[in-house]
């Protein structure tokens, strides 16, 4: 596939993007201390003396966090490094209590891997993963509690993060968005990160540069801490234009760290003095090298569940779904499971349609995630079954579904309460047909004279007269006979 290009005033440009994602590890306790990790606690209420870097305090690593990182590496089909080293990254900042972050520099726990992107046109792209390493999160500085002061909350300090670094393989904002979506889906499938970008469980830095197609790499800017996929794409689009215009106007891109301002929709250079960073990495003498038992890694590997790519391939093969539909459904494990529950033993394409159009549409309107859906998969099964056995018509099913979304009730109950049960009594249908034919005698004559198109008109009139409850097949059949005379 050729890289998408951006047209500038002086010709086409190619965008080169690499992403660094910080994914908070799902764990009870922090990476090197026994403090809790829950989101939203009172400031400094989940801080151990280790997290506050009190004198003489020492780190002890959390086994589960190591396991989560290895699982993630396995899900990214990456190389698991059986020996890895924790290093200190030294710098001063108020929310970094020790004056260093324990991270992994030269020897990360996970090496190179890949992520497959599903593009809108059904094609796929493979993006390289450079590495994944474990590190501590910093605390949080609030700059607007009081004028002239910053307030520091260390609750987040020491929480385990996986930093996942991509190769500079991404070529558009769209690809960057697809990458982040896919990565988030994988993390959620294996339960190593909840992927919640609003709460900061998943944060993204983007390295963006532009170059002439096939030319040498341009100078990159790093956009820090973008907290939604939409913002990431906007930030990249803005930054791409900014760099192109800058270069085309005779300027040069300066390597710098920029912040995305979601309100203004633009990136700006960080105001803090950009002094040359010199992190003075060295192996943390408080921790030994981390050695993994290959048998333990193999056991974890055996436990990795079916991941989005495999699931997508299976959905296409087993249910005859299109690449696009399958890709959308596997994007979220809950949605995929929801779909499979509904599709099992039913018309799979109909099931996919209901999930993707009606259900997703309703959720969208409600602003809810699928795991908070007012209609459960089993309830949707009930609705489709009522359609299949002729209790309700497809037409009415949408009304029933709307009522289910609103009330959370089962389809059968909604049908019963609203009296929406389909009429299959031929006598009742015939009576309704007779009444309409008597009322519309002129149209009956026109029809019989050859104006076939009027058939639909009669169907509509009878349906309306019966409150939409007539069995459509029976109605068609009886109407055809009666009109024929």
């Amino acid at each position: 596939m050729t890289a998408p290009l951006v047209e500038g005033a002086t010709g086409p440009w190619e965008v080169v993007i690499g992403l660094e994602v910080h994914a908070q590890v799902v764990s009870n306790a922090k990476l090197f201390s026994g403090a809790a990790t829950a989101f939203g606690a009172e400031p400094n209420s989940q801080v151990s003396f280790v997290d506050a870097a009190m004198p003489g305090m020492l780190p002890v690593i959390n086994r589960h966090c190591v396991e989560q990182a290895v699982k993630t590496g396995l899900a990214l089909e990456a190389r698991i490094n059986l020996v890895s080293v924790f290093d200190r990254k030294n710098y001063f900042y108020p929310d970094l209590p020790a004056g260093y972050q324990i991270s992994q520099y030269k020897n990360p726990i996970v090496g190179t891997g890949t992520i497959r992107l599903d593009m809108k046109d059904g094609s796929t792209r493979t993006i390289g993963i450079t590495r994944l390493h474990l590190e501590q999160d910093a605390g949080k500085s609030l700059h607007d509690v009081a004028p002239g002061a910053s307030h520091v909350d260390l609750n987040r300090a020491g929480v385990a993060l996986m930093e996942i670094v991509s190769e500079p393989d991404l070529r558009s904002a769209e690809e960057a968005g697809a990458y982040l979506k896919k990565l988030r889906a994988i993390l959620r499938y294996i339960g190593t990160c909840d992927g919640n970008m609003e709460e900061g469980s998943l944060r993204c830095d983007a390295n963006v540069s532009v170059r002439r197609p096939g030319g040498a790499l341009g100078t990159r800017c790093e956009i820090k801490n973008v907290n939604s996929i939409r913002f990431l794409q906007r930030a990249i689009e803005y930054e791409t234009q900014r760099q192109i215009e800058l270069i085309e106007g005779g300027g040069t891109v300066v390597q710098e760290t920029r912040l995305y301002d979601a309100n203004k929709g633009e990136t700006r250079a960080m105001r803090s003095k950009e002094e040359a960073h010199d992190y003075r990495y060295f192996p943390d003498p408080d921790l030994m090298p981390l050695r993994l038992d290959p048998a333990w890694v193999a056991r974890l590997k055996a436990g990795v569940p079916e991941l989005p790519d495999a699931k997508k391939d299976r959905f296409m093969a087993a249910y005859g779904l299109s690449a696009y539909d399958a890709g959308v459904l596997v994007g979220d494990q809950v949605a995929a499971d929801y779909f499979e529950t509904v599709a099992k033993g039913r018309d799979a394409k109909l099931a996919a349609n209901w999930v993707m159009v009606e259900l997703f549409g309703a959720l969208n309107r409600l602003g809810k995630e699928i795991d908070a859906s007012p209609v459960s998969a089993v309830q949707l099964c009930g609705l489709l079954d009522l359609m299949a056995d002729g209790t309700i018509s497809g037409r009415l099913a949408k009304d029933v579904f709307a009522a289910m979304v609103e009330t959370g009730k089962d389809a059968a109950i909604v049908v019963e309460e609203k009296g929406l049960r389909q009429v299959t009594d031929t006598g009742a249908i015939e009576a309704a047909i007779d009444a309409i034919m008597a009322r519309e005698a002129a149209k009956v004559a026109e029809y019989r004279a050859g104006k076939d198109k009027l058939f639909g008109f009669f169907v509509g009139q009878v349906m309306r007269a019966m409150g939409g409850k007539a069995n459509p097949a029976q109605l068609n059949d009886l109407l055809k006979h009666k009109l024929a005379g």
Binding site: G56, D278, D284, P285
Partner: protein
């Protein structure tokens, strides 16, 4: 009976159990001595009330027959160990007012064994020094004097307050920490016994970190037996220190009576350094004879990388220290000096809070880790460290322990050697190699210099073989029969 302050720990233990005196009487005697000896400046914080209260509790346990192994024994604690609710200074201004909300594992172990805390002893700032001259709380004065001189001498460092307190009979024993010789060198200067265990033997949790890959806690006392008793209580696995080893703690006291017959002792030829005073060389030879007389065989061994140990140490230790001391920033505890913005606050606080030696080492450490220099300095030093450890491993294929002098000189006067940092660093020439290799070592007082100052001999053992170190140390102690007492302090 001897004065209570003259007892060894083992004698006091026996006296307490026999109810010859109470723990309270023992504590009172030491509190009195501590208060009368303030001119030594051995203590930064005295905790007389806690000592008396602790002794009272010990008496109750003794009466109930529930005595711990150190029940009622008054100890001094180097002020590098965090003690809950008692200020911990690390000898630095930057920890101004810091009251630790937790107890170090080693001191917690001691209190669990029944020991009583007399106070927190003075030390070189952040344990960086060999003279106790770098403390923010002023130098410690050794209780020793040169023959015919009133010049005030250093007790050695960095555990100088602990060494002086033990030597001057202000406590029965004390804790120290040893990063490059900070237990052994002051023990030698002060005429007492100091034991640095194998790295990993004692927990580092709650000890203000200087150089994490080297720091190790250990005891200072007036006999090898007392050091063995103290180490038995201090040592043990700590799941909160990833560098603490999970091995059972042996009965160190039992090792004292091990016969020396068959012990193979090595004398490293590279320790015969240029300019070593003749009296130290003579004492060393005397040590060889003492061990041979008791049945050991002695042979010369080679530790070819010995001369690289000091420069290696002065890269590794400052590098780790520069990172360990980054937490002292005026934000969460300790001194805070206002400056321009948060960086100004950091710079002003750290400039005011750290003394000259700490600043020098932080700067050197920062430099050797900085971009472009890491490989040439830090990485190279860690490689040399591997070579030094290998030297020891090879030597231990032929011998069981090594015998060396502890320090290249006796104590010097306060103010001497202060203008040349490198000259000061040379004090640790015999102690640093074992530190770099993480090995256990003991310093035993073995004789007096011509001007009447104590000199020590050092035994270095295999990793986790403190027992053989103690056995050989006890043999030296028996033979030397060192009974000299400092007279620089009125009892």
């Amino acid at each position: 009976m001897a004065a209570l302050t003259d007892l060894t720990i083992s004698e006091a233990r026996a006296g307490l159990r026999a109810r010859s005196f109470s723990a309270r009487e023992l504590a009172d005697a030491h509190v009195g001595a501590m208060e009368r000896a303030r001119e030594l400046n051995a203590f930064i914080t005295e905790t007389a009330d806690a000592a008396r209260a602790g002794a009272g509790a010990s008496d109750a346990r003794l009466a109930r027959g529930e005595a711990g192994p150190l029940e009622g024994i008054p100890l001094a604690i180097k002020d590098l160990f965090c003690t809950k609710g008692v200020t911990t200074t690390a000898g630095s201004h930057i920890l101004h007012g810091f009251a630790s909300p937790y107890e170090s594992t080693v001191t917690a172990n001691l209190w669990r064994a029944g020991a009583v805390m007399l106070g927190k002893t003075n030390l070189d700032e952040f344990a960086m020094g060999s003279s106790n001259m770098t403390s923010y709380h002023g130098p410690v004065v050794s209780p020793w004097r040169r023959k015919g001189s009133n010049a005030r001498l250093v007790p050695g460092g960095s555990s100088g307050g602990s060494a002086a307190a033990v030597a001057a009979r202000l406590c029965l024993g004390a804790t120290g920490t040893d990063t490059g010789g900070s237990i052994r060198q002051p023990a030698a200067f002060s005429g007492i016994v100091g034991l640095k265990p194998t790295y990993g033997r004692c927990s580092r949790l709650g000890i203000v970190a200087f150089a994490s890959s080297l720091d190790q806690a250990g005891p200072l006392a007036r006999s090898v037996r007392d050091c063995a008793i103290l180490l038995g209580a201090m040592a043990g696995h700590d799941p909160l220190d990833s560098t603490s080893v999970d091995r059972p703690v042996p009965d160190y006291e039992a090792a004292l009576v091990r016969p020396l017959k068959g012990l193979r002792v090595g004398v490293p030829k590279e320790y015969r350094v240029d300019g070593m005073p003749a009296e130290i060389d003579a004492l060393w030879r005397q040590g060889v004879a003492w061990l041979t007389d008791q049945g050991a065989t002695v042979r010369e061994v080679s530790l070819p990388h010995t001369r690289h140990a000091l420069p290696t140490y002065y890269i590794v230790a400052p590098a780790e220290a520069s990172s360990n001391l980054a937490r002292y920033d005026g934000v969460r505890y300790g001194l805070r000096v206002a400056g321009d913005g948060v960086d100004g606050l950091y710079e002003a606080t750290r400039a005011a809070g750290f003394g000259a030696e700490v600043q020098r080492r932080v700067l050197i450490g920062t430099y050797v880790l900085s971009a472009g220099y890491y490989d040439a300095y830090y990485l190279r030093a860690q490689r040399v460290r591997t070579l030094i450890a290998r030297d020891f491993a090879r030597a231990y294929e032929q011998v069981d322990v090594l015998l060396t002098p502890t320090a290249p000189s006796a104590a010097f006067a306060i103010g001497e050697k202060m203008d040349d940092p490198v000259a000061m660093y040379l004090n640790d020439v015999f102690t640093v190699p074992a530190s770099l290799a993480g090995l256990p070592a003991i310093s035993v007082p073995a004789g007096l210099s011509a001007d009447g100052l104590p000199l020590g001999l050092q035994i270095i053992g295999r990793a986790f073989d403190e027992e053989t170190v103690i056995a050989a140390g006890a043999a030296l102690e028996r033979a030397a029969g060192f009974s000299h007492r400092p007279d620089g302090i009125a009892p």
